[in-house]
Symmetry: C2
Subunit: 131 residues, 2 copies
């Protein structure tokens, strides 16, 4: 039916699955042990760093994250509990919540990123180029 055969698709999917499982497991473990945060927490910090505008609305965060809205809400709650981000009201739209990095959050991200890079270098490097 299509150019790419079915078995070829399945092979590709297995590759993705293998890659994701290996790396996410190693990454989550490394981040947790070394910095006390999980992958989702790191992703949020990372998004906040990328968006140089300092504070993002929850909804904007949500769209760029592969996480349900409720999961994101709780992830940010954990980050706030740990003092890594602050939530604040938005004057323009009082439904929205601004999320902003704290100094501690920024510092944690910097150190965690080193760990991330190391794990990726170790586990993502050997991946086949994949025809």
């Amino acid at each position: 039916m299509t150019e790419t055969g079915e078995t070829e698709l399945v092979r590709r999917w297995r590759d993705v699955l293998a890659c994701y499982s290996t790396v996410s497991c190693a990454l989550d473990r490394a981040l947790q042990e070394t910095h006390g945060i999980g992958m989702s927490e790191f992703e949020v910090l990372d998004r906040l760093i990328d968006a140089s505008c300092e504070d993002l609305r929850m909804h904007d965060l949500a769209t760029s994250m592969y996480l349900s809205q409720s999961a994101l809400s709780r992830t940010v709650a954990r980050l706030e509990r740990d003092g890594l981000v602050e939530r604040s009201m938005c004057a323009d739209d009082r439904r929205a919540i601004f999320v902003k990095l704290t100094a501690a959050g920024r510092e944690r991200h910097t150190r965690a990123r080193t760990t991330q890079r190391a794990v990726l270098a170790e586990h993502l490097m050997a991946e086949p180029a994949r025809a």
Copy 2:
């Protein structure tokens, strides 16, 4: 330090993450709605089909699955509850448990595989070839 730059690694990781999230979400939903099984359950059925030897030991299943031992144990328990596999003792090693497809399990897999192929074709096809 290495050939592949750090940002290149991060880019690749984001690609994997995006691909995995999209496909696994769509796949899990489709399998659940159409056949009442999740991705993990399908994976187990798939392994049992692949291993033509009819019955596999839990431990052999575990090594080829990206799932913890406990999660696999529970996944197989669910499959047994739904009548898709049977667990039986192994005479040679009485610690081991054999897992075997039932007729219903075989049939379920056949139908679920169609769904899987369709989802992969729809969501994995458009993926960039990735330089």
